[in-house]
Subunit: 418 residues, 2 copies
C-alpha cells in the first residue's frame, strides 16, 4: 500500500510529465509506439512466463473459465496487442488540431485548438491487453497515464508495463509519462481518486460494481459505462433472413461482452413466422430463452421472463424475448429497461427506421446491423479506452479524440472591452 | 423544503419533458423564444415590483453594494435580457447537427450526430438575468432545465420564470421543459444532486464556496469554474502603449468579474519604463497595487505582495504585480498560481507569443488583447451557461454546442461481426 503522501508525489510526477508530453513532436511519439510494439513481441516469452504466474494463482482460487480466458495471453494475443499499438501510431495525432476558427466583428481571431486532457487514471480488471492499449492511446494523444490493473493480472501487467516503459524512455518520452500502480491495495485506489488537482480524468473499466464504487469515491471526473443491456427490434417489414443473421450474431458471436444482445423485441405481425426460426437456431447454439407470455404461447416449453429479466445484462448465453405491437412500443421498452448502450432495428420501412434511430437515446443506434460493432476498432479508432454510456464529454467507443480537451487561442491587435 | 420523493417526482417530469423537447421542431423553439422575449418586456413593471422586494430584504440584511448591484433590475437590464433571448433564437439549432460521417470497409455508414444532453440543473446565486439566459440556451439546445437560484433573488426569479414559463407552454413547448425550485432550502438542493438517473448535468454558477459544495455533494457530473486568477504578461518587445490600454482595461473596466486581471507580470527589461506608467494610471483609477520586491524598488510606496496574493482572485480594484526574467518565467508563474481561466501576453515577438499560447494551459489564452473578452456573448455564442475551467466536456465560455452530447447512428445492410 502507498501512503497518501506517496500517492500525491506519484501523481505530481505524472502531472509534470504530462506538461512535457503536451508539447512533444508527433514523430517522437510514433517512433516510440513502434518501438514499444517491437519490444512486446521481442519479450513474448518473458510476458507469457509472468502471465502464467497469474493464471496459476487464479486457478488455485477456482475462478471461472471465462475469467481465466480474459486473463490468458498467448503468442497470438501478444501479437494482436503489438498490432493494435502500430495501428494507433498510424492514426492522425489529435493534439494541436484546429477545431474551429471564428473572426469577431472587433477583429479578434478566435481559434479552438485540440489539447490533451493531462493525466488520465485507468482502473481495470483482468484483461492484460488493456495495459498496452491504454498506454498507446494515451501516448498518442499526449496524455500521461496512470494504470491500476486488477490483482488477478498483476504479474502480467507489471511485465507488459516494464517492457513498454523502458522502451518509451529510451525513445525520448518523459519519465513518468506512463506509470503503473504496483500494489493492489484498495486504499491506494481511494487515495488516487482524491487527487483532483493532479489527475484530470478517471476511466474505470470492468464490472458494474467496480465502476459504481469508483464513481462513488472519486473527486475527479469519471467517464463510465455501467452495463450494456442491448436490444434488437425486428420490425414487421424486416428482411427475416437478414434479421436471423443479425440476431444470431448479436447474441452468440461473443456473449460475454457489453455490446452483445440481451433482449430481442419482435413485432407481433411477424412473430409467428420469425420467432420459431430464431429460437430454434439460438437453442441449437446453447442459448436459454426467457419469453414473454405471447412468446411462450407461440413457442412451447420456454422459461418465463420476469420483470427483472428486462433489466438484466446476462453476459452469457441467455436471451429475453418479447413480442411488441409496433416500433413505438419497442422504443418505449428500450427507453425504460435499456442502458443507453447499443440498440438495433431490423426493418425495410424507412419511417420506422427513422423513428427508432431518432428516439432511442443510446450511444449507438443501428439500422440493419449487429450491435456487436460498438467497438473502437470497428469504428476505425484503432483501439478504445472503453465505451461510455455517459452523455458528458464522450459517448460510445472512446478513441484518441475522446482523450482530448480544447483551448481557445485568441489573436488580437490591442482590443479592449468597451 | 421538498421531500426526497417530491424531488424525484419533480425530476421525472423534467426527464419526460426532455424526451419530447429532444424531437421538437426548431421553428417551434424559435417562436417560443421570441414570444418569451416579448412577454419579459411586457411584464417589466411586474418583474421590477418583485425585484424591489428582493432588494428591500437584501438592504435590511446589510449586504454589500456590489451584491445589491448584481441583484438589481431596471428597464434597461430587462430589455438586455430580452435582447439576449432573441439573439439565442437567431443562432443555429445545434440539435441534430451532423458532426462526422465515416464509411467502414465492411460498408457500415457511421454518422455522429449532435443530440441534447437531457436534463440540466443550474444552481446560481444573485443575478436574475441568469434565469432568462439559462432558459433560452436550454430551450434552444432542446434540453430541459431545472433552475435553482439563490434565496436573495427568489422573488425576481419566480417572476421571470412564471412569465416565461406560461408563454413557453402557450407556444407549444412541453410542460416542465423549464422548471424552477420555488423554495430555497439547502436540503432540496442536496436531494436534487442525488438524482443521477434523472438529471444529466449540473452547472453551478457563483462563488467558489458554492461551487466546491456542489462538487462535493453531487452524484451527477458537474461542469464548473472555481475562480479566475487571470494574468497579463507584458513582454520585452511589447508595444507599451497597447500594453497600457490592455492592462488598464483588464483590471478596471469591470473588476468584479472572473475574467478581470488579478496579476500583472512584466518583463524586467521594460519594467523601468512600463511599470511607473501603468501603476500611476491604475492608482488614479483607485487600484491598490501589491508589488514584488523588484517592483517596490522601482516604484516607491507600494504594499508588498505576499505568497498568498499570487493565488488570490481579488474581484476588486486590487492588483498583484511581479517582474519576471522572460516569457518562460511568466509561463511558470501562471502554471503555478493561475486557475486555467484566461491569460494574456502582450508582445511583438512571434517566438515568445507562440511559446506562451502553446504552453499556458488555460481555457483562453490571448495575444495582444484584454482577458475581459472571455464571455459567451463576445465569443459569438449569444449568451453563456458559465465559463468552464474544467477540461472534461466543455472549456471556456459554454454556449449552445456545449449543452449537447452526440450519438452514433449506424446504417447497415445486414452486417454481422466475424
Amino acid at each position: 500500500m502507498m501512503r497518501l503522501s506517496e500517492v500525491k508525489k506519484f501523481c505530481m510526477k505524472a502531472k509534470a510529465a504530462s506538461r512535457v508530453l503536451a508539447n512533444i513532436d508527433t514523430l517522437v511519439k510514433n517512433r516510440a509506439l513502434d518501438a514499444m510494439a517491437r519490444v512486446l513481441i521481442k519479450h513474448t516469452s518473458y510476458i507469457l512466463r509472468e502471465n502464467k504466474k497469474d493464471i496459476c494463482i487464479a486457478q488455485e482460487k477456482n475462478v471461472s473459465a471465462a475469467l481465466i480466458d480474459r486473463l490468458s495471453l498467448n503468442e497470438a494475443r501478444i501479437s494482436a496487442m503489438a498490432k493494435s499499438i502500430r495501428e494507433i501510431a498510424d492514426l492522425k495525432d489529435p493534439a494541436g488540431d484546429l477545431i474551429e476558427t471564428r473572426r469577431r466583428p472587433n477583429g479578434l481571431l478566435i481559434k479552438k485548438v485540440r489539447v490533451p486532457i493531462g493525466v488520465i487514471l485507468i482502473i481495470y480488471e483482468a484483461r492484460p491487453n488493456v495495459t498496452s492499449d491504454c498506454i498507446a492511446l494515451c501516448i498518442k494523444s499526449s496524455n500521461a497515464v496512470i494504470l491500476r490493473g486488477g490483482s488477478i493480472a498483476i504479474h502480467s501487467n507489471r511485465a507488459i508495463f516494464d517492457v513498454m516503459n523502458k522502451e518509451a524512455i529510451k525513445c525520448g518520452l518523459p519519465k513518468n509519462a506512463i506509470s503503473l500502480i504496483r500494489d493492489t491495495d484498495k486504499k491506494t485506489v481511494d487515495a488516487l481518486l482524491k487527487q483532483s488537482g493532479l489527475i484530470d480524468l478517471v476511466i474505470p473499466r470492468g464490472g458494474e460494481s467496480l465502476i459504481k464504487e469508483v464513481a462513488r469515491v472519486s473527486r475527479i471526473p469519471v467517464i463510465k459505462h455501467y452495463k450494456g443491456v442491448c436490444h434488437t427490434y425486428v420490425d414487421e417489414s424486416a428482411d427475416l433472413k437478414m434479421a436471423l443473421e443479425i440476431c444470431f450474431n448479436a447474441k452468440v458471436q461473443r456473449p460475454g461482452v457489453c455490446n452483445a444482445m440481451e433482449t430481442l423485441l419482435v413485432n407481433r405481425k411477424i412473430a409467428g413466422k420469425f420467432l420459431p426460426m430464431i429460437i430454434r437456431r439460438l437453442e441449437n447454439a446453447g442459448v436459454e430463452i426467457r419469453g414473454c407470455d405471447l412468446t411462450r404461447k407461440l413457442v412451447k416449453g420456454l422459461k418465463a421472463a420476469t420483470e427483472d429479466d428486462w433489466y438484466t445484462e446476462y453476459l452469457d448465453l441467455v436471451l429475453a424475448v418479447k413480442i411488441v405491437k409496433d416500433a413505438s412500443e419497442a422504443i418505449a421498452h428500450i427507453m425504460k429497461y435499456g442502458s443507453n448502450h447499443s440498440d438495433a432495428i431490423v426493418t425495410k420501412n424507412k419511417k420506422n427506421a427513422d423513428l427508432f434511430l431518432k428516439e432511442v437515446d443510446s450511444a449507438c443506434v443501428y439500422l440493419n446491423a449487429s450491435t456487436r460493432f460498438t467497438d473502437g476498432g470497428e469504428f476505425g479508432k484503432g483501439a478504445e479506452m472503453g465505451i461510455s454510456t455517459d452523455k458528458i464529454h464522450a459517448r460510445g467507443p472512446m478513441g484518441l479524440e475522446e482523450l482530448t480537451s480544447y483551448k481557445y487561442v485568441i489573436y488580437g491587435n490591442g482590443q479592449v472591452r468597451r
